[in-house]
């Protein structure tokens, strides 16, 4: 590989985002970490290494042909490809999608490494499953495997550890460490504490420009940067609920959720069985479990999004499922955020209406919003530092910012049950602290019961005392 050179490159991504005046040299076998706030251009910068964006001035030279990429953008492209291949809207075959084995085979050139990774990621049972049927963490593992086994000259990994279960992270880090002697890497990290010790250089981005470039040998510079990233947000105030919205009052003497002897099966495959769970008001829960253990399935039994909700014994918010209630009767009590929501939220809509759609439990907004709903939504945007963009299109935001907005959407109506499925994925340190502080506050209040899923031991929430572990 040659040295890659960005010479005062200005690269445009869409109407509202460009990288400006990028000066950057990546020499062979250097390991770069890129950091910066959500929306600062981290993902955009690495996307340029995969040939994305339109160069408006300056130049980029020396990008090698074989680049292994893991990013939400790459994931989105694969999901889009699956959607295009899916003809179930025009045939009566409900598509199963491209199986994992084929997704791996189509790019892998290193079969030894492929076997090792399949073993390490415990993929074997998933090889026949369709790509879109995988859980968030499993999807990341497929992407990592594809990137590592295509014999790349350079690896570009946008948050390589994100979505992985706790015991896989060290293994992946170790694998990258070994590779770091052979190839160049550019790694993006939203969290400063995730930057591995074999990184040689750090870039800090702000508003689409490179603010700092430091060598990790220079420990005082690293120290200064880390302090910069840990500036605390002080005194957050949660916008109030809308007094005009009337979520019917629930009976305090019965649980919010009661699941008895539940099981989820796909064909021969059992995800979990004999599961019992009861959630009482004001008992905040944390749910953990390795990738693929069925956390999302379990949550979808509660939200009503899982078709097997009807074949299990589930009682939610006063309704025994399958007794004539509609899913909208149930969703009115729930605020929900997850990675799959991010993929499903594909409608043309502006920021403020995304938040307002939380009042209606809809994807997109199909009702006339009231003045008080708009006012509250604006307060949320202000809290997230996005009030200046209220009228901007949602799909122009970075994935991290999109997630912030969906969290606000989930919280906006102060729901009796707030389900946060790995809410901090993709958030930078500052926003993560903000969200964690918000969740803590909500736990201390009396309106919402919180159900929180996460992998990161550091992201513990104070008020959460109950714990369910799957798998």
């Amino acid at each position: 590989m040659n040295t890659i050179e960005f010479n005062r490159a200005t690269i445009r991504f869409n109407e509202s985002f460009s990288l400006a005046d990028i000066e950057w040299r990546i020499a062979p076998r250097e390991i770069w970490a890129i950091t910066g706030a959500n929306g600062s251009g981290k993902s955009a910068l690495v996307a340029t290494l995969a040939g994305k964006g339109e160069i408006m001035s300056g130049s980029i030279e020396g990008i090698p042909p074989g680049v292994g990429v893991v990013s939400l953008e790459a994931q989105a492209e694969l999901i889009e490809r699956e959607r295009e291949r899916d003809d179930s809207d025009i045939t009566d075959e409900i598509s199963q999608g491209t199986p994992v084995a084929q997704m791996l085979d189509e790019v892998s050139t290193n079969s030894d490494l492929l076997d090792r990774l399949i073993e390490m990621f415990r993929f074997a049972p998933l090889l026949g499953r369709g790509f879109r049927k995988l859980s968030t963490g499993e999807t990341r593992k497929v992407l990592l495997t594809r990137a590592l086994t295509c014999d790349p000259e350079m690896l570009v990994l946008d948050n390589p550890f994100e979505g992985l279960d706790a015991d896989t992270v060290p293994q992946v880090r170790e694998m990258l460490r070994q590779k770091s002697n052979e190839i160049t890497m550019v790694l993006v990290f939203n969290r400063f504490d995730e930057i591995p010790d074999f990184v040689t250089h750090i870039v800090y981005l702000e508003n689409g420009s490179i603010k700092y470039k430091i060598e990790t040998r220079d420990s005082s510079a690293v120290e200064a940067l880390s302090q910069l990233l840990h500036l605390k947000k002080t005194d957050i105030e949660i916008p109030k609920a809308d007094l005009n919205e009337k979520i019917p009052v629930l009976d305090d003497s019965s649980p919010l959720v009661r699941i008895r002897n539940a099981s989820i099966r796909y064909g021969q495959n059992t995800v979990f069985q004999n599961l019992d769970w009861c959630i009482w008001p004001q008992q905040h829960w944390q749910l953990t479990g390795p990738n693929g253990s069925g956390k999302t399935c379990l949550l979808n039994l509660i939200t009503g999004d899982h078709p097997q909700s009807y074949s299990n014994d589930i009682f939610v918010f006063g309704y025994q499922r399958g007794s004539g209630e509609s899913i909208w009767d149930i969703k009115q009590y729930i605020g929900y955020v997850s990675t799959s929501l991010l993929w499903e939220y594909r409608v043309s809509i502006n920021l403020i209406n995304v938040v307002i759609s939380g009042f209606y439990d809809s994807i997109g907004l199909y009702n006339e919003a009231s003045a008080s709903e708009k006012r509250i939504a604006l307060q949320w945007l202000r809290l997230l530092g996005l009030e200046g963009q209220a009228d901007q299109p949602f799909n122009c935001l970075s994935y991290g910012e999109q997630r912030l907005l969906l969290i606000a959407r989930a919280m906006v109506k102060h729901p009796p049950l707030l389900i946060l499925d790995e809410p901090c994925l993709g958030l930078d340190d500052i926003n993560r602290q903000l969200i964690l502080a918000l969740i803590e506050k909500i736990c201390l209040g009396s309106e919402s019961t919180v159900l929180y899923v996460n992998h990161h031991a550091e992201d513990k929430i104070k008020g959460i005392k109950y714990h369910l572990s799957l798998g």
Binding site: S88, D89, I94, Y310, G324, W328, V347, S362, L365, Y366
Partner: protein, 490 residues
């Protein structure tokens, strides 16, 4: 069985054809309560069957599936669709006798056989529903007189019916009650509750009749939707190649051009589609469309007449009886066209270029949509039905062609649409041959290549007014306003 339409008096025919009214959202304030606790059994678990059933269940209704014996024993895809989603599945004998409402969601061609087998098993005073009325109207199927017969027809593919529901919205839907089978006068209440259960009421429900639905559906699909796009594809491609445009480029322009143009149509009607052209190109497209409309009008009238008299469906049913001989021959013929076998070239065509280099295609869409709409409304079909069966569905077929080109597009659409499409194509190609001889690559393939975009102001005002004042634009604007999902809400 005799064609039902032809057994009616002229007055009855006209009143049925003219039945079509946009229902006020307040009519659905009761949601799907009318069906709460009733047993709904769906026959067939394909695209409509599965997705409508999922929505109805999520709306609190009791849904199960009945499949033909072989589908169950062989565990076919339809069986998997139902069981993997946690539905109860049984044979006709097991489930039909207990059903309050039976949804027939099998392919139209099978309706005769399926309904004949199922109706004797249905309990007294139950209800049978269709999502397309061909069997009742064209085949003249008689249903036992104690049974209520209704139709609930979503105007979108099944997957979209589901996706929109999950977002908290729905797709536009047409409902109807078969007047000969409404013994307890509850057909409308059932149809409304069913439409609400699929989410259709959020995007707009049209109260229609079996006859209006069938006659307009047949007319739309065989003329503008499948017919015009097929004929247009072949003529435009051949013209470009003949005049030296690189075949790979020509194939790509045609294959994806309809979809790009259709997208503009979907969001803002003919007006917006035409507005995507430069002023001089718009005037050219307008004039080409006028010329084609004059040439093709007799053909559209003939299709409408054959549909009204029943000649079209009896011809087609003869072919069914003959093992689809004609249909399959014609399908093969489509597969052998040069367009079909030419690989589209790789380089992306910028979105705007599809308009700039596809002026003739834009003109064909305009001519076809307007002619189909005019012909239907002049035959007594209401504007709202005519809109749904012409302009509204054009982008759907355009999208199919983008993904599958013509041969597969034809195999995927219903046999009825396919048969009609070939009839149209065989007549329309020769009809347009003199016209095509006169046009050149400036309107198809290369663009006008102007440096000077001069137009006469008076002419432009005249053309814009003619485009905007066409009746399909007025009704389209109202109906699209109800499909707010498409609107960027600001």
């Amino acid at each position: 069985m005799a064609n039902y339409f032809n057994t009616l008096t002229l007055r009855q025919q006209l009143s049925q054809l003219g039945k079509c009214e946009f229902m006020d959202p307040s009519e659905f304030s009761d949601g799907s309560n009318y069906l709460l606790g009733k047993k709904i059994v769906v026959i067939g678990c394909g695209s409509q069957g599965l997705n409508q059933g999922l929505n109805l269940r999520d709306s609190g209704l009791d849904v199960s599936y009945t499949l033909r014996e072989a589908a169950i024993t062989e565990q076919r895809q339809s069986w998997k669709n139902a069981t993997e989603n946690g539905f109860a599945v049984g044979t006709y004998a097991e489930l039909i006798p207990g059903a309050d409402l039976v949804l027939n969601l099998t392919p139209d061609k099978q309706h005769g056989a399926v309904v004949t087998e199922v109706v004797p098993l249905m309990k007294q005073n139950s209800c049978l529903s269709y999502s397309h009325g061909f069997n009742i109207v064209e085949e003249g199927m008689h249903i036992r007189s104690d049974i209520t017969v209704i139709m609930v027809a979503p105007k979108c593919p099944g997957t979209e019916v589901r996706e929109e529901y999950k977002r908290g919205f729905g797709v536009p839907t047409l409902i109807a009650v078969h007047e000969d089978n409404d013994p307890r006068a509850e057909g409308l209440a059932i149809a409304k509750a069913y439409a609400a259960g699929t989410g259709g009421h959020r995007a707009g429900v049209l109260m229609s009749s079996f006859i209006a639905e069938v006659k307009s559906d047949l007319m739309g699909e065989q003329t503008i939707l499948c017919g015009m796009l097929q004929t247009g594809s072949l003529l435009c491609f051949d013209k470009m190649v003949e005049n030296g445009v690189e075949p790979g480029y020509a194939a790509k322009l045609v294959q994806y051009g309809w979809e790009t143009v259709g997208e503009a149509l979907k969001h803002g009607g003919i007006t917006n589609m035409m507005d995507r052209l430069s002023n001089p190109a718009k005037i050219r497209a307008f004039e080409l469309a006028q010329e084609m409309k004059d040439i093709m009008r007799p053909l559209y009238l003939k299709h409408m007449d054959d549909i009204m008299t029943g000649d079209f469906s009896s011809g087609m049913m003869d072919d069914w009886a003959n093992g689809d001989k004609k249909l399959l021959d014609w399908r093969k013929e489509t597969g052998e066209t040069v367009f079909e076998s030419t690989e589209s070239s790789d380089p992306e065509i910028p979105e705007q270029e599809y308009f700039d280099h596809g002026i003739l295609m834009v003109a064909m869409v305009k001519a076809g949509v307007e002619l189909a709409f005019e012909t239907m409304t002049s035959a007594g079909i209401k504007e709202e039905s005519a809109y749904y069966e012409s302009l509204h569905e054009t982008p759907l077929i355009a999208n199919l062609i983008a993904r599958k080109k013509l041969f597969e597009m034809n195999s995927i659409i219903s046999d009825t649409a396919e048969y009609g499409c070939y009839l149209y194509n065989h007549a329309c190609q020769p009809l347009l041959s003199d016209f095509m001889a006169k046009v050149d690559t400036d309107v198809i393939g290369r663009g006008l290549g102007l440096n000077d975009f001069y137009v006469d102001n008076h002419r432009l005002i005249e053309v814009n007014a003619a485009i905007r004042n066409h009746p399909v634009e007025a009704v389209g604007k109202t109906l699209r306003a109800h499909m707010r999902a498409m609107k960027k809400i600001v």
